[in-house]
């Protein structure tokens, strides 16, 4: 085996290998080459190992190539390790400077110090620009500069260990968590047997969050985290949300938030099942980046326990949901395993409130199912219409809804909401909203219009005065992304009002809705001398499909329909001739009329 000054050895065990390596380093030998076919240990297997120690010069050098297979991994992974300078002046101590570890999954320049005595082991690795990644890229690090210290002492079959990992530069992604800013320190201690790794006290100091403490038990055979306890006290809510909560909430409505404030968080899991959870927020601000909701100055106490029912409470100073501003609110509910109940929840909106009663919700199959009764403390319609960007209206909205359900992103209301407006009522029935917080919310409803005061209505919109009352139905109303795309509407004056008058200007305006011509014709005749006319009936119907309105009036004529049917002398009829009208054109025309009529003209 001895050839010149080179020693070549073939070993079968680790200890023989180490002993040979160390004992020969002291001798006047220039090169040692050792081949190891295969070595088994409790933590894994090593095969095809080739050691090459170059003892020429003052600094011995080591090169090692081998394939390693950690326990429970299916395949061997080849790797190369080298030490620019290798010292081992005492048995059990090895120093490796200018080291380099290379394999498919890791590239790591390092320096290390190992001390291995009989029942003690210590390791200190300085890594300087290490990169690692598993095949799928789900666990990866880039440009890591830091330090790993590990000591272990044997007590019978048990090893007590104590470790510290810190990195000053670089980033780590450990699905689903990302540690971007360096300056993070993980300290942990525990015990280790062949079957179990116990992490008794772990502390992860993350620069952007604060300190997260954890304890866990890992089964080395199944690699399953058997028991986990995690807690973070008085940490930055934004850091906690970004690091821990956001990755878990990405597919929910809470997956794209801007948050601030302070948080306390804890979480316990046994046998892969969550057993308890608690999130406390202090003076937090939450804003959905898709613009669907926001809450300001929120305080929340959200405990949860698998076995014991808990009371949750939440309050905020203000906020909004869709375009609806939310007032100061305090909510309390009981959470019992996967069910939530509350006798009442009051959500102040505008100057009124949404009062939810007999609220119950269940978390089933990754979805919430809600079920409640609702009534409305009257809300000022003026504020409501302004907030929704509707034409400004006066009046109140009130209502009593015996059953509201929300399941599979669909909101259903059995019962009516009533809008008291223009001295009459508009009722909304059969309301359904699909995916209210999604990209394409769709609303379905039927409306009934009763006794709307046309005098009040035409004064509000400066349309030209009409006296009378309006009744009608809007069936199968569909809104997509809160824009009207379908309805079957029919509105007509009723017989309640005795004074049925329409002003010259209103006649002109209604006529001009049907296009040019009629209004001008009116101006050319003697009719222009009359300020107002009597009418028998005014009515309009529209079947809307996408943007096309199929128009009708109180009666059909040859080639058209009657919108205003006059009475008495002189009687003015306003007829419509265009059956299919673009709704956006029609709205633009109404807007032009109401805008024009509000202009102040100084003569």
């Amino acid at each position: 085996m001895l050839r010149g000054k080179t020693i070549k050895l073939i070993c079968k065990t680790w200890s023989a290998l180490l002993l040979l390596l160390l004992s020969h380093m002291a001798h006047a030998v220039s090169t040692i080459e050792i081949s190891v076919e295969s070595v088994d240990s409790p933590v894994g297997q090593l095969k095809d190992a080739k050691f090459h120690v170059d003892l020429k010069g003052k600094k011995p050098k080591l090169k090692l190539s081998a394939a390693v297979k950690p326990q429970n991994e299916p395949n061997f992974m080849p790797f190369k390790l080298s030490c620019g300078t290798l010292f081992s002046e005492q048995v059990g101590y090895i120093d490796c400077f200018d080291g380099q570890l290379e394999s498919e999954i890791i590239q790591a320049p390092f320096s290390l110090h190992i001390a291995k005595l009989r029942d003690q082991f210590s390791l200190d690795v300085l890594f300087n620009g290490a990169d690692f990644s598993d095949a799928a890229g789900l666990h990866a690090g880039d440009g890591l500069i830091g330090d790993l210290q590990l000591t272990a002492k044997r007590a019978g079959a048990l090893w007590q260990w104590d470790g510290k990992l810190s990195w000053d530069q670089g980033e780590v992604f450990w699905q689903p968590y990302y540690f971007g800013d360096a300056g993070n320190v993980l300290e942990a201690k525990g015990a280790f047997t062949e079957e179990l790794i116990k992490v008794e006290e772990a502390s992860l100091k993350v620069k952007t969050v604060g300190e997260i403490k954890a304890a866990a038990q890992i089964n080395t055979k199944t690699k399953v985290l058997e028991d986990v306890k995690v807690s973070a006290k008085d940490v930055d809510f934004n850091g906690l949300y970004t690091l821990v909560l956001k990755p878990k909430l990405e597919r929910s409505a809470f997956g794209n938030l801007l948050v601030s404030g302070k948080a306390n968080w804890q979480f316990e899991m046994q046998q892969l099942q969550p057993t308890s959870f608690e999130l406390n927020l202090e003076n937090a601000n939450i804003q959905d980046q898709n613009g669907k909701f926001s809450f300001k100055q929120m305080n929340a106490h959200i405990p949860w326990d698998y076995d014991v029912p808990q009371n949750i409470s939440l309050d905020y100073a203000s906020g909004f949901l869709l375009d609806m501003p939310l007032g100061k609110t305090k909510l309390n509910a009981e959470v019992n395993r996967y069910a939530l109940t509350a006798p009442t929840l009051t959500l102040p909106v505008f100057n009124g409130a949404l009062n939810f009663k007999e609220v119950s919700a269940a978390w089933l199959g990754e979805n919430w199912f809600w079920h409640l009764r609702m009534n409305l403390t009257p809300v000022d319609l003026n504020q409501f219409s302004k907030a929704l960007g509707w034409p400004e209206m006066k009046g109140q909205i009130s209502g009593e809804v015996p059953l509201v359900t929300y399941a599979n992103k669909q909101l259903n209301m059995d019962g009516a909401m009533t809008f008291n407006m223009f001295n009459g009522k508009v009722g909304m029935n059969n309301l359904r909203i699909d995916d209210p917080l999604g990209v394409v919310p769709k609303l379905y409803a039927d409306l009934t219009v009763r006794n709307l005061d046309l005098g009040e209505l035409t004064r509000t919109y400066s349309f030209g005065a009409i006296e009378g009352q309006l009744d009608g139905d809007v069936k199968d109303l569909v809104l997509e992304n809160w824009k009207v795309v379908q309805f079957d509407a029919s509105l007509e004056t009723n017989e309640n009002e005795q004074r049925k008058k329409i002003s010259q200007r209103a006649v002109e305006n209604i006529a001009s809705l049907g296009g040019q011509g009629t209004a001008a014709a009116l101006q050319r005749t003697f009719l222009r001398f009359f300020d107002e006319f009597n009418y028998e009936k005014i009515g309009i119907s529209c079947q809307l499909r996408q943007d096309v309105c199929n128009m009708g009036g109180v009666a059909s004529t040859e080639g058209g329909y009657i919108i205003v049917k006059g009475s008495g002398i002189p009687a003015v009829n306003v007829n419509g001739y265009t059956k299919k009208v673009s709704l956006s054109d029609l709205i633009a025309r109404i807007k032009r009329i109401t805008d024009r009529n509000t202009e102040v003209i100084v003569e």
Binding site: S133, A136, G137, L138, A140, G141, D142, E171, V172, F173, Q175, P176, Y177, Y178, G180, P247, E250, R251, G255, V439, V440, K442, L479, E480, N481, W482, K483, V485, Q546
Partner: protein, 138 residues
């Protein structure tokens, strides 16, 4: 003879129905389609670097998929799943809404195929798309 007549009739019927079915209007607009397009447009700025790096590619069925997660910077590696899932949800809804707006919900899969071709035509050079034998760099 009957069979021949029947076949001739069937061919004739197919040709007629084929002629009667106008091509779908892929440019049709509804509030739903506009909302989806604008949501996708907003997301495009976030996705564009991932198309360019080859991390994300265009699939045969008008969707997108993660081709190489390692090409995504570590910082965005978690978010990429969500980004791709949200884009695919919007794309699926878009094809459905265009079919419905055309008055033919059953056209959805044809519309999806037309879009799949369009996306690939519109892709910039260097982007990946799914060809017959797997990923192809444009």
């Amino acid at each position: 003879m009957k069979k021949i007549l029947l076949s001739a009739y069937l061919v004739f019927a197919f040709v007629l129905t084929g002629l009667a079915q106008a091509a779908p209007n892929l440019e049709i607009n509804t509030p739903a389609i506009n909302a989806l397009k604008s949501s996708m447009q907003k997301r495009h700025n976030q996705l564009a670097p991932h198309y360019q790096s080859g991390a994300v590619g265009l699939t045969k069925n008008g969707m997108i998929a993660i081709r190489d997660a390692k090409a995504v910077p570590l910082k965005h590696r978690q978010g990429i799943n969500q980004l791709v899932a949200a884009e695919n949800a919007d794309r699926g809804k878009l094809y459905k809404e265009i079919a419905v707006a055309n008055g033919h919900p059953e056209w959805e899969s044809g519309i999806r195929d037309s879009f799949a071709g369009r996306w690939i035509d519109k892709a910039k050079s260097g982007w990946y798309f799914q060809g017959k034998g797997g990923w192809v760099k444009k």
